[in-house]
Amino acid sequence: MSTSKTALLDGKSLSDGRFTAWPRGVQANGNALIGVVAAVLILVWVGTNGYKQTLLISAGAYALIALGMYVPFVLAGSLSLAYGAYASIGGYSVALISEKTALPLWFGWIIGPIIAGVAAVLLGTATRRLSGFYLVAVTLLFSEAFQTYLSNASYAGGAAGLTSFRPLDVFGWEPSFDVLIGATAVLVVVVALLLNRLRLSAWGVVVRGMREAPAAIEASGARVPMLSLVALAIGAGVGALGGALFTQMNGSIQPTTFTLNLVFLAIYMPLIGGTGTSWGAALGALIVVELTLNLPSLHTSGTLLVALGVLVIMLVAPRGVLGYLDLGRKEVTRLFRRTGSRQ
């Protein structure tokens, strides 16, 4: 019994049920520390260089969308392609608050995720008996229908979208662009941290159990459908945050801003970075941005590299970059220990 519990608790572990060297809480804190340090280093590297700042914004938005998809996908095993729509909801909330009301823009940052969450719950309810390929197809159609809706919504600028927003005003303080860049990194770190905590919490365990053994979870009294909907809502909310971030920083949004290409990339990010921890989504986002935006010599085959890379990873290194590095770390630790204790 203890073997299976361990296996269930350790998202990175193998079915041999071995205890890892560190207790779970400490390991999670270790990951968080690395994540924070990495974020600080990246901010230092970006500095005030406009180009690098734009890369960071893209990476941050992608990371949030990927983290949003991570929750229901990796935890609950349900793949939804509606994330372009959720990101659009977040973005348009900010844009519409700016355009149509006199409220401060951070209202949009709060309302957007809420609306996205509601939309996710509605969609999730309508599709609760669907999974796998059927769910993918329906969520794809949902994305297209939503995009069509935006293109025809004159209050949202129709197909031309909305541009030039008021600056972000937090109770009278208008943060400069550089400060906002820092805030982007902070936001991603905080969300990744929270989601990781969520994954390791009792709730997270139950959700993951729901994926692997739904009958056991139902038997223990937790209600599977409710859990799925909550997971979907959280994911959609995080995705909407990504949309709000991108729109706020780039100053414009159209129905076609968050394309389907982006949504597929968002699935691949946790896979590339590593599904064992939510930091994998953030790392995957960095890698994808590097490949698709920062390698001009390859001249737009960045997406091709990502698609091929995902295939290679799924076949050869299914735990993604972080998982592989972590495995390597364990092996190295074990090698040292064996040399030390002469077993």
């Binding site: 406009g50 299914p318 970059v321």
Partner: protein, 419 residues
């Protein structure tokens, strides 16, 4: 029996696999580090320095969307830009300094334009050429950094109008001129009701938002039908238009596949109705063969090439010499050529290309530049308040397709004249 968690992992195995894992993770870490050093180093594709110009090169950035559907015209434009730059370098560059082109690609995605713009400026660009359908998002960036920029083939005024337009310029005839020419043509040929078929792209929507108010003043738009740009069929939409029985049909889209599909379908369902096109189909020779034989016969398109314009003739012989005879010259070639000449003029008058603000001041002093397109005698001028070069309506030529699916004829019904 324990619950086996088979997510993405593999069960661990023998020693060789462990060694491979260690090696693999070291490789992965190295790859990550290498990747981050490329981030630091940046990646610039160096251009070719000129041959006769020997001083330090002036870096000019070109945002060339060669990936999206717009590639149908951006590729043509890019080739001629390169030709023009090579020619410029061959004849001494800008006061002895050759022009070095560095290329970026926003892939037609609005979200990528700011990043690509920053990247080009990062690589030292002192002047920017936007060869893409999504140049508008670059405005805040070029305003902030003060780099003069030309939207080479853009016809939507947004790029050169406030806000953030101190450094941005356009040379194509603006859309408002298009609607004036269309209205005049319709008045002359007795068209009172028009049905519109369009795609659902952002560009078309922006275009229509600007055009329709003027058009509605001279004709009644009886119906507007929209179809996705990737549609496999527009028969339903055209059938709906047909039921309103308009005097003429206007097709508005990004060109390419959608335009051809639309024109073919209208030709099938409404063969006697005059067809007008807002798309740059007149300037996309590679799409003419997509249509059914005779499918384009009679289509009147907004073009800008009049074979009697001496500047046009000069450019045509230059292009024929470099690309082979019977090179199908388009407005894009003319735009590309003129953009480089305008840039050169401003740089020369500013005493060099290294001070973007000085070059910008000189751009705004260019008057009566003889354009390579439009009716004979057509000129472009700029000023502190005029960032769109067009002088009058005669930059526009209404070209008509014949039964050979080629826009050989100038529409006999109406042509704008230079004042």
């Amino acid at each position: 029996m324990s619950i086996k968690v088979r997510m993405w992992g593999r069960t661990s195995g023998s020693a060789p696999r462990k060694i491979a894992t260690v090696a693999g993770s070291i490789l992965a870490a190295t790859a990550l580090l290498a990747g981050s050093t490329t981030l630091v180093a940046g990646a610039a594709t160096p251009g070719k320095p000129g041959t006769n110009a020997t001083k330090s090169p002036i870096v000019v950035g070109e945002d060339w969307d060669s990936t999206s559907a717009n590639a149908s015209f951006t590729d043509v434009t890019a080739k001629t830009i390169q030709l023009a730059v090579n020619q410029l370098n061959k004849t001494g560059g800008v006061l002895g300094h050759p022009i070095k082109l560095v290329i970026g690609d926003d892939e037609g995605e609005l979200t990528k334009t700011p990043a690509v713009t920053e990247q080009l400026i990062n690589e030292g660009a002192k002047f920017l050429l936007f060869n893409t359908g999504v140049d508008a998002p670059a405005k805040p960036t070029v305003q902030k950094l003060g780099i003069p920029s030309i939207g080479v083939t853009d016809v939507i005024p947004t790029f050169a109008t406030p806000p953030d337009n101190s450094y941005t310029y356009l040379l194509s005839s603006p859309l408002s001129d298009w609607s004036q020419v269309l209205c005049a043509a319709w008045k002359k040929t007795g068209v009172k009701t028009v049905g519109v078929l369009r795609d659902n792209s952002t560009t078309t929507a922006s275009l229509d938002d600007i055009l329709f108010p003027t058009l509605k003043k001279c004709v009644t738009i009886v119906d507007v039908e929209t179809a996705p740009g990737t549609a496999s069929t527009v028969t339903a939409q055209v059938a709906r238009l047909k039921s309103h029985n308009p005097n003429a049909i206007l097709v508005a889209d990004l060109g390419g596949q959608f335009e051809i599909l639309a024109q073919d379908t209208v030709h099938q369902l409404m063969p006697k109705t005059p067809r007008y096109s807002l798309a740059t189909i007149v300037n996309e020779p590679q799409t003419w063969s997509l249509a059914t034989p005779g499918g384009l016969n009679g289509v009147i398109g907004i073009g800008s090439l009049n074979p009697n314009n001496p500047q046009t003739k000069k450019l045509k012989s230059f292009l024929d010499a470099h690309n082979g005879a019977n090179y199908p010259m388009t407005a894009f070639d003319a735009d590309a050529w003129d953009a480089i000449q305008l840039m050169k003029t401003a740089m020369v008058k500013a005493g060099g290309g290294s001070n973007p603000k000085a070059v910008n001041t000189q751009m705004q002093k260019i008057t009566k530049y003889l354009a390579s397109f439009g009716q004979p005698g057509y000129t472009l001028s700029y000023s502190t308040t005029k960032h769109q070069g067009a002088n009058g309506l005669c930059g526009i030529v209404l070209q008509q397709f014949g039964a050979n699916n080629k826009p050989d004829k100038a529409f006999a019904g109406y042509q704008p004249t230079c004042k």
